[in-house]
Symmetry: C2
Subunit: 157 residues, 2 copies
């Protein structure tokens, strides 16, 4: 295929129509809320097979652990830049107002989760089942702590 500059520009422009993101100066609150929820959804699914292994419901599979721990590690920091001013409402969300009233506490919780994800990935790369299970327990606690403190039980607008 003859790839002319105009073709490249067309392809780039087409992809840009998908983009709700960082290249735009102003992100709408509903886009930030949807993005946070999207990342959490993808991470939640990656936790599934790791949870089964950690609970002994599935045999430990180092490659599967590493793949999913890698995904979680790549994703876990992403939502935390999408809780900017004004993103506490605009679409149904479970983000607790404490996220904004206790910004230092939320930042600390996010850092605990990010550290736990890095440790889970390290344990998965080492292929060490006992370390993996311990690290999964730690990230589970980080999830629970952040959700207990900074997530409401029901959606609100």
């Amino acid at each position: 295929m003859n790839r002319t500059p105009s073709r490249i520009v067309l392809a780039v422009a087409t992809c840009a129509t998908l983009v709700t993101g960082a290249a735009q100066a102003q992100l709408k609150p509903e886009d930030e809320i949807r993005y946070r929820q999207s990342v959490m959804n993808v991470m939640g699914r990656a936790m599934g097979p790791m949870g089964a292994m950690a609970q002994g419901k599935a045999p430990f599979n180092a490659a599967l652990a590493q793949k999913n721990a890698g995904l979680v590690d790549s994703l876990i920091a992403l939502p935390f830049s999408s809780y900017g001013p004004g993103t506490d409402k605009g679409a149904p969300t479970k983000a607790d107002p404490k996220i904004w009233s206790d910004a230092p506490g939320f930042k600390q919780a996010s850092e605990v989760a990010q550290k736990a994800a890095a440790q889970l990935l390290a344990a998965s790369k080492a292929g060490d089942e006992a370390k993996f299970k311990a690290a999964f327990g730690e990230i589970g606690k980080a999830c629970k702590s952040c959700h207990d403190n900074f997530r409401t039980k029901e959606f609100r607008n």
Copy 2:
């Protein structure tokens, strides 16, 4: 903190409440649709800063390119296992019925996209701006082609 087995089990069980995913034998169509859309949303945002660099609207930054290309490469295969039988409806979706009536065509399109993502990551890792721009053009074409052929313009239930 005293980490007893029961604490670990609690943390794992808590995390499992987040999980909509692969550990469950039966996934609801609406969960599959939401998951596909979540992955696309996260990928779309990762495309943003790369699109700006590819279009010359931002200076080339190899680290930024690598981070975002890595995300896209990690994510791009994920949606394609969530178009199983019965997931053509159940929640608002733009998934075109051709996904199911032309499964080989859809599979081929998914493989083109996955290959393009791998090449974009390789170009980003090489830190080569010209290769990055060419590879971004290729993945842009892969996005466009798949969306033109397998995505409807409007949501449908």
